[in-house]
């Protein structure tokens, strides 16, 4: 029997008043896949992730996680999420926050928590209020909380924000281990190098619409580009604009 797809988004529409942030977007994430959602600022990446989580309402379309209609309480059991700005309860300490998440998610796996805390070198901050942590350490808290229950689908919005080089490397390895264990990941990022190295597939969205989708290799071959960055600029029709801006700057 074929297992349910971790994520299926069909014809999703998200609007803020008159502004259309996501415009009939469709894509899916397969089991064991790291799917990179790429796009320029304001393209609709974060709105797509928020709609999957139910943080903004979807005006049209359907979202299914593990074959179940999302958003729902049941679906949240399958998901671990890191939001763009780590909106965690900042008056708690990381330890209190982990206790809360573990209790709500009914996870009793101290070795998992110990392992993640050691990996991200967060031990010395366990009893420090989250409000007083640096942005990078707040991001680490959010990442650990999202991975604590070994979710089937990790939804990550700019997950590498604020992380130091070592933490980025560890996080990338954790993501690889996560998909090797049968989990799936969808993440949005501006860092093309990271996407190029770890994504199984990428989807490039612009003005709320999918403009290119496939493996990095497929996309490079399609537009005869040397890197994902070139693919991105071509797909979002920004290449000529970038060239003219650089010319204008060099002549200034």
């Amino acid at each position: 029997m074929q297992s349910a797809s971790p994520l299926e988004v069909n014809s999703l529409v998200v609007k803020y008043g008159e502004k259309v942030a996501v415009d009939h977007l469709s894509f899916s994430v397969k089991p064991g896949e790291i799917y990179g959602l790429l796009g320029p600022n304001g393209a609709g990446k974060s709105s797509t992730i928020k709609a999957i989580l139910g943080l903004v309402p979807a005006q049209e379309g359907t979202i299914k996680v593990m074959g179940k209609q999302a958003p729902s309480k049941e679906v949240m059991n399958y998901i671990g999420a890191v939001l763009e700005s780590p909106a965690i309860f900042d008056v708690l300490t990381p330890l209190e926050f982990f206790e809360f998440v573990a209790s709500v998610r009914r996870v009793n796996d101290p070795s998992r928590l110990n392992g993640l805390v050691e990996a991200f070198e967060l031990r010395q901050y366990l009893k420090t209020p989250i409000a007083s942590l640096s942005m990078g350490n707040k991001q680490k808290v959010a990442v650990i909380a999202a991975m604590l229950h070994r979710p089937k689908l990790l939804l990550l919005d700019e997950p590498f924000n604020g992380l130091d080089v070592k933490s980025v490397r560890i996080f990338k390895e954790l993501l690889k281990m996560h998909v090797e264990g049968g989990g799936s990941v969808i993440f949005s990022t501006h860092i093309m190098d990271v996407a190029e190295k770890i994504c199984t597939r990428v989807g490039i969205i612009n003005e709320g619409k999918m403009v290119a989708e496939g493996t990095v290799e497929e996309l490079r071959n399609q537009v005869k580009a040397a890197s994902l960055e070139d693919v991105f600029l071509k797909a979002t029709e920004e290449e000529e604009e970038v060239k003219s801006l650089i010319n204008a700057l060099s002549g200034a």
Partner: protein
């Protein structure tokens, strides 16, 4: 640097301080839409004018009452002191939080080409601008009003205003200092935050009772007690209260100059070492949510709201013991004076619990917790606290020989439950604007009006039934009956949330199952 430049920069810092103080705690962690962000910024600036208008009106009302009721005349200065204190304290209170949690302002100022003295001047002006309207209203209204009473009273009112302004600023500076010095996560921090609003609630509660108490218990030694000596309009007492006012003013100026420096002083947090294996205290989801609620509420600016029902009860006892009014009053007067306000104060607990959750609401929404489960947790906390306060009130009425009062006091749990359901519905609309809740003062007022109606309908029906039947036990049935009717639409909306997996005919069964499993 020119004074005008400092004024301009201070204006920007003032804008940010007001925004942080008023709006930042209301943002949910998601980016607010442009419309909401603009509205929050506008309301942040309007807040001090709104407060000034409301409390300025209270001062005018107080002076008008003095003219109408001569028995009240002597206590006016003390009452003016209370209103001025509350106005300035609440206005500056917002800024205390901003200053203790706005490192970006400090970082911004440090990048400007200003020397130490210019930085301090910028900081001082920006803080002062946040309380300019309340201070002006506190001085102008009593002094102008005092001219109607005569020169001596005008001077006495001015002394009362200066004392109120100075002590309010000094209290705020002390709180700001406390917030900075005490770690956010510590138990002492929770106590400071919970205690921060107690002076205001106490003063609001006794604003009219204290002058009466002084009048009833006239004693010469009270003439030497700061603030209370404003009661006596004679040369010696006025001279003494003038000296006290100067001392309070010196204290406020000293504290204020310190506060301007706080805004510029970097804070350093050093992580505490944590040895050994990390152990997680596993609880049921319901207990986890309740624990989170308490931790959040005790460590937020809304902490004082947790203390309100208890303070109200203390005030009720003080009034009852001092005036013996509790037993002498007619039951309906007792009900309207004590039980209904106590229920209203308890209803604000749910508001505090939901509001303190806002900052991390985006994360909260990504966890498998339904709105109904969240409502049940808030219900447990709110009703639990009312049960304690209600039981104490019941013991008091039994002690005063009115045991029949006990049943309706405890049945007020039902209207309280309906207000929590209303709060759940109200806060479920937080995300409608794309990331910010409590977006304006109008919605906050609407919430309060909603709570008043929800409590008023069953308790009003009970009062009418009690008046007609003269039987408290029978008329008490109105409380649960009407409250359940009120609660039904809110529960229906909450149960339609994503939290309930099953649909259609099985919805109620699914609800019951989920409610039960929450506690396991």
């Amino acid at each position: 640097m020119q004074w005008k430049d400092i004024w301009d920069i201070a204006g920007k810092v003032y804008d940010e301080l007001m925004f942080q103080g008023y709006a930042a705690s209301r943002l949910t962690g998601l980016s607010p839409t442009e419309k909401i962000a603009s509205r929050l910024a506008r309301n942040a600036k309007l807040y001090k004018y709104l407060m000034s208008a409301v409390y300025g009106g209270m001062i005018v009302l107080t002076m008008a009452m003095g003219l109408l009721d001569r028995s009240y005349f002597a206590g006016i200065s003390v009452t003016i002191f209370f209103w001025v204190y509350i106005l300035v304290f609440l206005s500056a209170f917002q800024i205390s939080f901003s200053i203790s949690s706005s490192p970006h302002i400090r970082n911004f100022l440090s990048t400007l080409p200003l020397d130490r003295a210019e930085l301090q001047a910028t900081s001082a002006v920006s803080i002062l601008r946040s309380v300019d309207a309340p201070i002006l209203v506190s001085l102008i209204v009593p002094v102008f009003g005092g001219t109607i009473y005569g020169f001596t009273y005008a001077v006495n009112f001015l002394v009362a205003s200066i004392s109120g302004i100075s002590l309010a600023l000094a209290t705020d500076v002390a709180l700001s200092y406390g917030f900075r010095k005490v770690s956010v996560g510590s138990k002492v921090s929770g106590l400071i935050r919970a205690g921060s609003i107690i002076p205001v609630v106490l003063l609001a509660g006794v604003a009219y009772d204290v002058p009466i108490f002084i009048a009833q218990h006239w004693s010469s030694y009270l003439a030497f007690v700061p603030v209370l000596n404003l009661y006596w309009i004679n040369r010696t007492c006025m001279a003494l209260s003038g000296v006290y006012a100067v001392l309070f003013l010196a204290l406020a100026v000293y504290g204020f100059s310190k506060q301007a420096i706080y805004l510029l002083t970097p804070e350093q947090y050093i992580g505490r070492s944590f040895e050994g294996e990390i152990k997680v205290k596993q609880t049921s989801p319901a207990v986890a949510i309740i624990t989170l609620d308490f931790r959040q509420a005790l460590r937020s600016r809304l902490a004082g709201m947790l203390a309100i029902p208890v303070i109200y009860f203390v005030l009720a006892i003080i009034t009852a013991v001092t005036s013996r009014s509790l037993i002498s009053k007619d039951y309906l007067v007792f009900w309207g004076s004590y039980v209904v306000p106590m229920t209203f104060a308890s209803a604000m607990l749910a508001y505090a619990l939901y509001a303190s959750e806002e900052r991390g609401l985006a994360t909260f929404m990504t966890l498998p917790i339904s709105k109904l489960e969240n409502f049940l947790s808030k219900c447990m906390v709110t009703m639990g606290i009312y049960a304690v306060v209600g039981a104490l009130m019941s013991a008091l009425v039994v002690y005063f020989g009115k045991p029949s009062y006990w049943l309706p006091i405890m049945l007020m749990e039902f209207p309280l439950m309906a207000t929590v359901a209303f709060a759940g519905y109200y806060f479920s609309r937080v995300f409608k604007g794309g990331g910010a809740g409590m977006a304006n003062s109008v919605t906050a007022v609407l919430f309060t009006v909603g709570v008043i109606f929800i409590i008023a309908i069953p308790s009003g029906a009970f009062m009418i039934a009690a008046f007609l039947t003269k039987n408290l036990a029978i008329s008490s049935a109105a409380l649960p009956a009407l409250s359940l009717v009120e609660m039904a639409p809110f529960l229906y909306v909450l149960s339609r949330d994503r939290g309930v997996a099953s649909r259609g005919k099985m919805r109620m069964l699914a609800l019951m199952r989920e409610t039960f499993s929450l506690w396991l």
